[in-house]
């Protein structure tokens, strides 16, 4: 796999700002539905776009624990913000999915599986932490004993156009989780946006055939060494800007050895068990299924929807939840995310995107909570 670290820069090109619209056109011409960042209701969310005017040109975000605010930049950057409340999970692992329908017949019923979504989608503006999150969900849905065919179809029909982050939010901590800010793999096309006093352009790179086919339609020039250096400077700046961190040293054992730490009571007094953190987290994958019948009793269907370790029914056994207290639910969430996930899947379940921090109505910060557990911990 070629990366920006390669000496050879033959695969790196320059796309001027004026030519950027051609990328979206090329994607539409190739029959991709283009999903990209766009502004709605005071935030940058992900939705289908028609053209480059739908992108949040000149906008940035101010993020803190429990707060998100759009602000103007002093340039017209197309990607000058970090991640918002949506993640690509909304497309790859949607909040609600019909699994099957059944119809009663003599002596039983017929089952019809739900149709599988095979629409081609191009995700434009995928950040490094988000690629890491998609790879984590791939491991869950595609590399376990059970393969989720609907997920596989959606994943295989997705083209990933990554963007290297230039201005992380105050809630980001991908450096601690080794998932960013630079995109290293897992993309079809990667873009770095470069803005100087008198010029606005992109360094662009493709990996694999699908990405290269799209690039053929764009007005490109070779980037050369200078292009590579400019792109690397963007990453270096982003890395320097990142103020938040999570100390992962020995964290896996630390959390498992401190189930009785007083900090769990402290966080439980603030936690609303509202499920926002798990919904915005790009790696959280838990679901439940519901069966519905119609009034006649002739038809039934099974629907899968997002569930959360913060809900009571999530740990229900024999009619009552095993994890009754909010304390046990928060502890389950954080311990799974940062510790037992490693036992289970070989990586942390956290990619450091900061969404759970910004979108927690109580402003609970996973990095602060982990630091508090470390203080006065059993080793």
């Amino acid at each position: 796999m070629r990366t920006f670290d390669d000496d050879d820069t033959n695969h790196l090109f320059i796309l001027e700002r004026a030519g950027f619209g051609a990328l979206i056109e090329a994607l539409s011409d190739a029959e991709y539905e283009v999903i990209a960042p766009t502004i709605r209701d005071g935030a940058i969310i992900y939705d289908a776009i028609i053209s480059e005017v739908d992108l949040p040109s000149g906008w940035a975000d101010d993020q803190q624990a429990g707060r998100y605010k759009l602000k103007r930049r002093n340039d017209e950057a197309l990607f000058g913000y970090a991640v918002g409340p949506h993640s690509w999970k909304k497309y790859l692992h949607p909040p609600e999915q019909l699994l099957w329908r059944a119809k009663k017949k003599e002596g039983g019923f017929d089952i019809h599986a739900a149709p599988i979504d095979t629409r081609k989608r191009a995700f434009l503006g995928v950040r490094a932490c988000e690629i890491a999150a998609i790879e984590i969900q791939d491991r869950v849905f595609l590399r376990g004993p059970h393969i989720d065919e609907a997920y596989r179809a959606r994943r295989e029909n997705t083209l990933i156009i990554a963007v290297n982050c230039g201005d992380p939010a105050a809630t980001c901590f991908c450096v601690s989780m080794s998932t960013g800010p630079a995109v290293r793999s897992g993309y079809d096309i990667a873009i770095t946006e470069i803005i100087s006093e008198d010029r606005h352009h992109f360094v662009i790179d493709a990996a694999g055939d699908a990405g290269r086919t799209v690039l053929k339609h764009l007005p490109l020039r070779p980037a050369g060494k200078k292009g590579l250096q400019a792109a690397e400077a963007v990453t270096a700046h982003a890395q320097q800007q990142m103020k938040r961190s999570l100390d992962t040293d020995g964290l896996q054992a630390l959390l498992q050895n401190n189930a009785d730490h007083p900090q769990w009571d402290n966080v439980a007094s603030r936690c609303l068990s509202c499920t926002n953190c798990t919904a915005v987290c790009p790696t959280c994958f838990c679901t439940t299924v519901e069966d519905h019948t119609d009034l006649s009793g002739e038809n039934a269907e099974r629907v899968q929807h997002w569930d959360s370790c913060f809900s009571g029914s999530f740990s229900e056994l024999g009619g009552a939840p095993v994890r009754r207290s909010t304390k046990s639910r928060y502890r389950q969430w954080m311990t799974h995310k940062l510790s037992t996930w490693i036992d289970q899947f070989g990586t942390s379940g956290c990619v450091g995107c900061g969404r759970c921090i910004a979108w927690c109505p109580a402003g609970i910060d996973i990095t602060e909570e982990a630091a508090a557990i470390r203080k006065g911990a059993n080793s």
Partner: protein, 262 residues
């Protein structure tokens, strides 16, 4: 073959605005298609015909606020295999529960020209304070698709799939941008039960708490967040004193019982 039993459904009204019965009327199309599958034996908002009990399923709207109703609900219970309460009045006493703990005689003298004509209890209480209730369907008013889910579940002997988590879960499922986080609008969603489909935040309003307390409401923490967003104690009290004012968790939140500093 034995004749198929056609389940009898009855709807009962106590102290309420009829809004929840209207949600049921709204299911008209679904019911028409099923003439012969369900026998609607009593439904005052829809028809004057009234069949005798017993009933397979009784839906009860409204709270208990008079002596007469206190006795009537016992009769309804005796005639019903399942009794399900629908809406904030029936499940929490409704907005009329605001009078609980206050001077009812004074209220009557202010509101009515002839208070001596009024026959009322000093309190408005949920049905579950008086008889055994098999399920409580929340909302002011209730949600039509939840009502259909509830009726089909009871008729087919399965557990209704009705979530007791927060409104936030519905906001996130529909992709609404959180108004509390992005607009600094104090929202009741985190302590309110889902079911409405998170309509208000989708229209740039914070949640009013129509569906009452969710399964594990941390009102103390939410109030602290509201204060951080600039809400004062009066705003907080008011927010918890609407349709579900009588629900114990909201009542305590309004009175500040569980707060550390009160």
């Amino acid at each position: 073959m034995a004749r198929k039993h056609i389940p009898k459904l009855a709807v009962w009204k106590f102290a309420s605005c009829d809004g929840c019965q209207l949600s049921l009327l709204d299911c008209e199309d679904e019911f028409l298609a099923l003439a012969g599958v369900i026998d609607i034996a009593n439904f005052p908002e829809a028809t004057r015909t009234k069949k005798r009990g017993p009933y397979d399923l009784s839906l009860v709207e409204g709270s208990i606020s008079t002596m007469r109703d206190r006795e009537r609900i016992q009769k309804v219970r005796r005639q019903s295999k399942y009794l399900v309460t629908i809406g904030a009045c029936a499940t929490a006493g409704g907005v009329q529960a605001l009078r609980n703990g206050r001077d009812i005689a004074e209220f009557m003298s202010v509101v009515y020209a002839r208070p001596d004509y009024i026959d009322t209890l000093a309190t408005s209480t949920p049905i579950s304070d008086h008889v055994k209730v098999d399920f409580e369907l929340r909302g002011c008013p209730i949600n039509k698709s939840q009502l259909l889910e509830l009726i089909t579940a009871f008729l087919h002997g399965r557990r209704p799939a009705i979530a007791t988590t927060s409104v936030c879960a519905e906001c996130k499922a529909r992709g609404t941008v959180c108004v509390m986080t992005a607009k600094q609008a104090p929202c009741l969603g985190p302590v309110t039960q889902a079911g409405c489909g998170a309509i208000c935040p989708a229209y740039d309003r914070s949640c009013y708490g129509c569906f009452g307390p969710m399964e594990s409401p941390n009102t103390v923490s939410l109030k602290e967040q509201w204060r951080n967003l600039g809400a004062n104690e009066k705003d907080i009290r008011r927010a918890f004193q609407t349709f579900n004012a009588g629900a114990p968790e909201f009542l305590n939140a309004a009175r500040g019982h569980a707060d550390k500093n009160n």
